[in-house]
């Protein structure tokens, strides 16, 4: 998928301005996150700066970040147009919710330790179940190209929903109530950060480059020796795993799930985040997830018009800026490299401080 069809001059100046403020994006973002953590940590000392409502939005933001970044791995990095992400989310949500509800005392561990490791374990099992579903779905359908793949993944997403609607264990349309309310700010943040770091590193590994090669030109990638099926399935399965994880967090946040929470609209909501941020940009997905989770809350007075505005935005975005906010650009990590080298220079210029043998070792 081509992006940025601007003339050379335009893209040059655009890139320069983008370069300037992208430098500050990561430090500012991390600083804000740090301040947020402090504010919420103050609760331990009896200061309630952030009320339940805002904390709920923050948790949903983290869940949406996981969903958007994982869908971006499939859609943006590997170029497989999947629109069944809510289905994987549903698998993770149902599996982890049912495990949580039915998990009694393990017996071989003290209850205190069990209560700590139970929740992440359940989430990961939910993610693995979703990954398995992704594998099952991916192997046959990933032979399909473009539109066919899109419609097949959509079909599978719907099938998962219909299965949840019909099975006895999922209680059909009534849904599952009474899921333990384990998801708090810390867990949601922890898993969101882990997800972003893992996917960021995947994208910058050999595997990620193989996936990007598939996106750019499947045939050329195959000719260069990239095992197309393997990497497509890998990308799909990893994406499904994190979607399942997010589903588990979602279930343990709302403590109630029903099939209708995971319909086509949910997928499209996630897709909108990915597209708005820029297909292929993890930074973009994170920022778009934050914006699109917060925006509806800010624009509550526009509630009735919300979805109309969303949809209109999507169309206008595609017509006027199809590459999204970020295109494929990411945050600038050179800030840290600059800090590091500056620190290194400092030690070099002041050898006396470290006894003169600091950097020679």
């Amino acid at each position: 998928m081509e992006t940025e069809k601007t003339t050379g001059l335009e893209s040059h100046t655009q890139a320069q301005t983008a370069e300037k403020w992208r430098k500050y994006l990561l430090p500012v973002g991390l600083l804000l996150l740090f301040l947020l953590n402090i504010l919420i940590f103050m609760e331990k000392f009896g200061f309630n700066f952030v009320n339940r409502y805002y904390k709920g939005i923050l948790i949903l933001t983290f869940i949406n970040i996981i969903l958007a970044v994982s869908l971006n791995l499939i859609n943006g990095i590997t170029g497989l147009f999947s629109i069944g992400h809510a289905g994987f989310m549903a698998v993770g949500a149902y599996v982890s919710a049912l495990l949580s509800i039915n998990m009694g005392e393990w017996g071989f561990l003290p209850p205190q330790i069990q209560s700590i490791i139970e929740f992440p374990l359940v989430l990961i099992l939910g993610g693995l179940a979703a990954a398995f579903a992704g594998l099952l779905i991916g192997v046959p359908t990933l032979r399909l190209r473009g539109d066919y793949l899109a419609i097949a993944t959509l079909g599978f997403g719907e099938i998962i929903r219909v299965v949840a609607l019909n099975l006895g264990i999922t209680r059909g349309a009534r849904g599952i109530p009474g899921i333990p309310n384990h998801t708090n700010f810390w867990w949601a943040q922890f898993f969101a950060v882990i997800t972003v770091v893992i996917i960021w590193n995947i994208v910058r590994s050999n595997h990620g480059r193989a996936m990007a090669a598939i996106r750019e030109d499947e045939m050329a990638a195959e000719a260069m020796g990239v095992n197309i099926t393997y990497y497509k399935v890998l990308s799909f399965t990893i994406g499904a795993f994190f979607a399942g994880l997010a589903g588990g967090l979602f279930a343990h946040y709302l403590s109630y799930i029903a099939p209708r929470s995971f319909d086509v609209l949910k997928t499209i909501e996630i897709l909108l985040m990915v597209v708005l941020g820029g297909l292929g940009s993890i930074t973009g997905s994170v920022i778009a997830a934050v914006v699109l989770t917060a925006l509806p809350e800010v624009l509550r007075f526009l509630q009735a018009y919300r979805m109309v505005i969303y949809a209109g935005t999507l169309v206008l975005l595609m017509i006027f800026r199809p590459q999204g906010l970020f295109g494929r650009a990411e945050v600038d990590l050179t800030v840290f490299q600059a800090l590091k080298s500056r620190a290194a220079e400092k030690t070099k210029s002041q050898p006396g401080e470290r006894g003169g043998n600091g950097d020679s070792a």
């Binding site: 419609i151 959509l154 109309v308 949809a311």
Partner: protein, 292 residues
């Protein structure tokens, strides 16, 4: 046995709805290679135009006519404003735009018409005109099948024997070559959207008469299933859409009749995945290999 026959009749009438919608999908896909996700919502527009026309006291044929004209205009406008600027954009951009247009129409519908389902005016007498033992064909079902057949015959004649139809086939074969032959591509694409949308509008009224309940989100499922029908028959191929639609209707009523109605939606997509795995180009499709 008579239950099976009755289910076949029901399946055929439901299938004719799917076939009518599927035609729009297949024609648009054949010509610009775009899954027009908004097509299902055009069908919803048709149903609502029919609803308001009948509520306003217009006779059925006139309401039917209106329910074809107004969706056709919608199709024309959508193509012009949303899809035309993306004619040379990457296909994924066009696909996302189509999803956006679909969402836009659905939510505009919810906003303007309220999300509650409404009863469609029952202007046809509820009687069966053909009875054979326990098997009954109601007047509505009869009309559905006959009107669908008539529209399909007209469409086939149009595509095969008029100059515009010939141009449509040319564009779907090779857009650039068609342009070089002096065909006005934009006009042909507009005509395709108009015809497809008019057929969907007709389907909207028919389904209103058959299942007397309409709502702004009714296009989502019908649209998806009709698209599946188009894929099953072989996307871009007009007879394929007809066959696929009928197959889809039959499969669905048989599952509803003999299994459980809650599995209905899964069957449609199960069928899709099955066909994609066995023969991705559809029943009537010829497979083509991508060459470098």
């Amino acid at each position: 046995m008579s239950q099976l026959l009755q289910q076949l009749v029901n399946g055929l009438s439901l299938g004719s709805i799917y076939a009518l919608i599927a035609l729009g999908y297949t024609m648009v896909y054949g010509i610009i290679r775009l899954i027009n996700f908004a097509h299902g919502d055009i069908y919803m527009v048709g149903a609502f135009v029919g609803y308001f026309a009948l509520r306003g006291g217009l006779p059925l044929p006139f309401a039917f006519f209106l329910a074809m004209i107004i969706p056709a205009l919608f199709g024309l406008v959508i193509e012009f404003f949303a899809y035309r600027p993306l004619r040379n954009a990457p296909r994924i951009a066009a696909l996302i735009t189509a999803i956006g247009v679909s969402l836009f129409l659905e939510n505009l519908g919810i906003l303007v018409l309220s999300p509650d389902p409404r009863p469609f005016p029952q202007v046809l007498p509820d009687k069966s005109i053909i009875s054979y033992g326990d098997v009954n064909v109601s007047l509505t079902q009869f009309l559905m099948i006959v009107i669908t057949l008539a529209l399909m015959v007209l469409l086939t004649l149009f595509v095969h024997y008029t100059k515009t139809g010939k141009a449509m086939r040319a564009v779907s074969q090779d857009r650039e070559a068609a342009q070089l032959m002096g065909i006005n591509i934009n006009r042909i694409i507009s005509v395709t959207f108009v015809i497809g949308s008019a057929l969907a509008g007709a389907a909207g009224v028919l389904v209103g008469l058959y299942i007397p309940r309409i709502e702004p989100l009714m296009g989502v499922m019908y649209g998806l299933k009709a698209f599946v029908a188009a894929v099953i028959g072989g996307i871009g191929i007009i007879p394929g859409a007809m066959l696929g639609g009928v197959l889809m209707g039959l499969a669905e009523t048989l599952v509803t009749g003999f299994l459980a109605s809650t599995w209905r939606d899964a069957i449609a997509f199960g069928l899709l995945i099955l066909i994609l795995l066995i023969k991705p180009s559809g029943i009537f499709g010829t497979s083509s290999r991508t060459k470098v």
